[in-house]
């Protein structure tokens, strides 16, 4: 026995030394990085995703980990500070030696992380709906692209609610700016006149909404049905909806469809002024099926709080994590290049009763749901797509990206390949 043990021990040591020499981290655990703001203006949204990853790591460890190794979560707090996101990414990959990162929420944080993660060849799963116009070799986008959230929501407003005038209100950074560009192009293409579109941007954490809400009221008073398409992010939403309520703008007069307001954002506030307003996501906690029920039960048990809620980015994290596990098992290693290739084509159940599939542009196929806010902070689903929508990284409505596709399989292997000129133009941040 002793002899075998010591020779096994020697083999392990040798392997360990060789691995170090080959600079492949031969850790005894597989480290999973968590890069979400736990303080600052985005903490209201991101903290729950950190807890979701911790829950999935714990559950995977109960199943025995991956490839015989246990998982270890490494949590850092970039504190809603966008440059700090880049620093923390570097720290996670170079110092903490994580094999995958689950992180980011705002697009500006993701854009800060991109150069670092591409330089160090890391792997990140990005679980939040975003503006598209990007496809990186090192990032997998498990949240909605504009054609899986924004465009269907606008279609619903136009067709089912007869909306004729549009207010596009957003926080001032890349996601709302790009999404509104796409939406404006889409609306104009559908025949809406420029006079019927009002666009407005506010800084993060903006709290004085008096004049803007008053302008929205005036814009909506012309007799044509008006709706607000809101890409307002973070806690600025709270005083916004409060002011709408105070100035007497009800959801029946001017409905607000939000893309960044989910169950989590609603759980900390008084939802009375919001009842009847809408949100567009690919998942709601109120979706009725057994997979979702199981997930919710597991979540409430893990977080030891019956009042906690689930939301779309949590489902995206769930899908992303399960896909990563499957890909690592398929590739037989956590090496980023191998896992990244193995991920394409992987399918895993989502929580709305279907299957999510990872496509070659690093985006998923997802259903689109529109929900109405109820007074208990949950959503009543009022509309959904018939099937799954494949995420399109490059919007067909913007002239610069109409001809672009992303395809990370051979022979193209490019994030922004121009189908007309047949050229790959590389990533611009």
């Amino acid at each position: 026995m002793m002899g075998i043990k010591s020779s096994v021990g020697k083999v392990i040591v040798t392997l360990g030394v060789c691995s170090l020499a080959l600079s492949v981290p031969a850790a005894e655990t597989i480290k999973v990085g968590v890069l979400h703001s736990l303080s600052g203006t985005m903490a209201i949204s991101e903290t729950t995703l950190k807890d979701t990853v911790l829950m999935m790591v714990e559950e995977q460890n109960k199943k025995g980990g991956i490839l015989g190794k246990k998982l270890e979560a490494v949590v850092v707090d970039p504190a809603s500070n966008w440059p700090l996101f880049a620093e923390k990414t570097r720290e996670l990959i170079t110092q903490k030696k994580v094999d995958v990162i689950f992180g980011c929420w705002t697009s500006v944080s993701r854009k800060s992380v991109l150069p670092v993660i591409e330089e160090l060849n890391g792997l990140m799963f990005y679980p939040v709906q975003y503006e598209g116009e990007e496809s990186s070799k090192n990032v997998f986008y498990t949240g909605a692209a504009p054609n899986q959230q924004a465009i269907p929501a606008v279609d619903y407003l136009m067709n089912d609610m007869d909306v004729k005038r549009w207010v596009l209100a957003g926080t001032d950074y890349v996601y709302p700016r790009t999404t509104n560009k796409i939406l404006e192009a889409y609306l104009l293409a559908k025949g809406v006149s420029k006079n019927d579109i009002m666009i407005n941007y506010t800084p993060f954490g903006h709290s004085d909404w008096q004049s803007i809400v008053s302008d929205i009221k005036k814009f909506g008073d012309t007799g044509k049905k008006t709706a607000v398409v809101s890409t307002i992010n973070g806690d600025a939403n709270v005083p916004f909806y409060k002011e709408l309520g105070n100035q007497g703008v009800s959801a029946e007069d001017i409905p607000v469809v939000a893309f960044s307001v989910g169950e989590e954002e609603l759980s900390g506030i008084d939802t009375k002024p919001l009842v009847g307003h809408l949100a567009a996501w690919n998942y709601f906690q109120s979706v009725d099926n057994s997979q979702n029920d199981q997930f919710i039960k597991a979540w409430k048990g893990f977080i030891k709080d019956d009042k906690r809620v689930t939301n779309d980015p949590m489902e995206a994290t769930y899908i992303g994590f399960n896909m990563w596990v499957k890909a690592v098992e398929k590739a037989g290693s956590t090496d980023v290049d191998k896992v990244e290739q193995a991920l394409i084509g992987i399918e895993t159940p989502n929580l709305t009763g279907g299957m999510a599939k990872m496509h070659e542009n690093h985006h998923l196929s997802k259903p689109v749901l529109i929900g109405e806010i109820q007074d208990d902070g949950q959503f009543e689903i009022v509309w959904e797509t018939d099937g799954l929508v494949v995420g399109d990284a490059w919007s067909n409505f913007l002239p610069g990206s109409k001809d672009l596709i992303a395809n990370w399989t051979s022979p193209i292997k490019c994030g922004n390949y121009n189908t007309k000129t047949k050229k790959c133009s590389g990533q611009n941040y």
Binding site: S39, Y201, S207, D208, S211, I212, T222, Q247, E380, V382
Partner: protein, 563 residues
């Protein structure tokens, strides 16, 4: 008088159009209901209604509205509680037998159940045994019109006015006849004016007699309702050649003159609204900055913990609402002295333990207070949570006061404006009339002289700092009603507070007042033109330039010691 004359004209027009039909189906209650089935079979009528109501259980959204219309036809005003319950999300059905009920939530998580028509209490059940009857925005909007129609004869004046107002956009033949019938008995002037408006709107659009349309326009001319303005705009629509689509030139001329008058009034009210927004923003800045004006102005201490004093005041409000969950209406009033004490005490502690040792060294004071602000932020994060806390607004602070269709003032901002002015004047009183104020002013003007006069400058320092911090705490209570309460609340207001104090003149309270209001007004007048982000930037640039020209601010301190 003129209005009544025109109204008679309209009624005459009505007669000429021969619209009065004899078969009046309106009951005494003034509600349109189909002919009553003779009382031989009252039971089946009731059960039929209940059957229809029962169809609401579990049906698809698209079918809800037709069922509701059926219910209105069958029950009329008796269906009001059911319709109201849908709007308030209180109409449910029992999973087990699909019986429709109206619920009332209890504190213990149980629901009391009531029959939707007779309103008698049926029992008490758990939430899980019930499912909500589905509705959406469109259904609720239509229901409001239905409810308004059924409520036109409520004994409450306000209810009648709101009902008529809700129907202005949905005037049809039956509604107009109903309104005309009601107007014959209506006593209240303001209700009559609304009915006149409704009639005018309807007849303008549905008559082709010039005199009827002109008198309708005249009736509408004093109204600022968006419906009226949209109507006038529609009348003045031109085709691609620039000619008016409306054929009658007298109507066009009248519409033009009305439009001019309305536009002028609307512009006036818009400026009034902007002034109010600017004043309310200014009052928030004033409240936040006035404490700093005292500590910075009187003691020359660059106090970076000022933002955290505001934050502590906001959290005090949160704690009071936690401790007294049944007294939300009074929570804000209780919080004011509580926040003053909490922030004041913390301020005094900071002053006695750190700042008095750094007297005369502004850079060290700045660094030390910055460090203390970080400690305070992290303490709050550790005790409460890094996430924002929910502070509820009492009923009397929500909603708005409507002066007319284009101008309304939100209550919370109005009360905060008044409150800020009260705080300002109380502070002035303290400084001018009390001995503490006298000592404070003496110490700020000439410390050594004050010492030699026997004033205990150490205690004056501590109390001044406490006063300034306490006022910041009160500002926090006000801010808790307007914005998110989180550990970073102070950071959002510290820069603005320094801006106001420096702009207004260090040490001068009037400077802070004028500075705060000026900045608020400029920001709000710029915002519609440039957007919120650029407006902030421009105001900042303006202050920087202003300080270049007048480094001491708007109202600098006078006196040799101030040099």
């Amino acid at each position: 008088m003129m209005l009544r004359f025109y109204k008679l004209f309209l009624l005459t027009g009505l007669l000429c159009l021969g619209n009065l039909s004899a078969a009046d189906e309106v009951l005494d209650a003034g509600v349109v209901v189909p002919k009553i089935v003779p009382s031989e079979e009252p039971v089946s009528e009731k059960t039929k209604a209940h059957q229809v109501i029962g169809q609401l259980a579990g049906v698809k959204l698209k079918q809800v509205w037709p069922i509701l219309k059926e219910i209105e036809k069958m029950l009329g005003a008796e269906g009001l509680p059911l319709f109201q319950a849908i709007i308030e999300s209180r109409l449910y059905y029992q999973r087990v037998d699909k019986k429709i009920v109206i619920i009332r939530k209890q504190n213990n998580g149980m629901y009391r159940l009531f029959d939707p028509v007779s309103l008698e209490e049926i029992g008490e059940k758990k939430k899980s045994s019930l499912k909500k009857v589905r509705s959406n925005n469109r259904i609720r909007k239509n229901l409001r019109v239905t409810i308004s129609r059924l409520r036109l004869l409520s004994p409450d004046v306000e209810v009648r006015k709101v009902s008529i107002h809700n129907m202005l956009g949905n005037l049809d033949h039956d509604t107009i006849r109903l309104l005309e019938k009601i107007s014959l008995d209506e006593q209240h002037q303001s209700v009559l004016e609304l009915i006149d408006l409704a009639l005018a709107l309807y007849y303008f659009q549905n008559s082709d007699q010039q005199i009827v349309r002109l008198s309708a326009l005249e009736l509408m001319s004093s109204s600022l309702e968006p419906l009226v303005r949209n109507l006038i705009n529609d009348v003045l629509k031109t085709d691609s050649a620039g000619r008016y689509i409306e054929q009658d030139s007298r109507v066009v001329r009248k519409a033009l003159s009305i439009k001019k008058a309305i536009d002028a009034k609307v512009r006036f009210y818009e400026i009034l609204e902007k002034i109010f927004f600017g004043l309310s923003l200014g009052s928030v800045l004033l409240l936040a900055a006035i404490g700093l004006a005292i500590t910075f102005g009187v003691m020359g201490v660059i106090n970076m913990t000022h933002g955290e004093m505001i934050m502590l005041g906001a959290y005090t409000t949160y704690v009071i609402q936690l401790v007294l969950p049944n007294y939300i209406e009074y929570s804000v009033l209780i919080a004011i002295p509580a926040a003053f004490l909490v922030s004041g005490l913390v301020g005094i502690i900071i002053q006695r333990s750190v700042i008095r040792f750094l007297h005369g060294r502004p850079l060290e004071t700045l660094l030390a207070t910055f460090g203390i602000s970080l400690i305070l932020q992290q303490t709050v994060r550790s005790i409460f949570s890094p996430l924002n806390r929910q502070v509820e607004s009492p009923q009397w602070l929500s909603g708005s006061m409507e002066f007319n269709a284009v101008f309304s003032i939100t209550y919370n901002r109005l009360y905060i404006l008044i409150f800020a002015l009260i705080v300002f004047f109380v502070l002035q009183l303290i400084l001018k009339k009390t001995s503490l104020g006298l000592h404070v002013r003496a110490v700020s003007q000439n410390r050594d002289m004050a010492k030699s006069m026997g004033i205990r400058t150490e205690w004056v320092d501590a109390l001044t700092f406490g006063l300034g911090s306490g006022i910041a705490g009160i500002a926090g209570v006000a801010l808790s009603q307007l914005t998110n309460v989180g550990p970073n609340l102070g950071q959002a207001y510290i820069i603005d507070s320094f801006m106001v104090v420096v702009f207004g003149g260090v040490g001068n309270l009037w400077g802070t007042l004028v500075g705060g209001f000026t900045l608020g007004l400029s920001n709000k007048f710029l915002e519609p033109l440039t957007g919120a982000v650029l407006a902030n930037i421009l105001v900042l640039v303006f202050i920087i330039l202003f300080i270049q020209k007048r480094p001491r601010g708007l109202f600098p301190q006078k006196g040799r010691a101030a040099e």
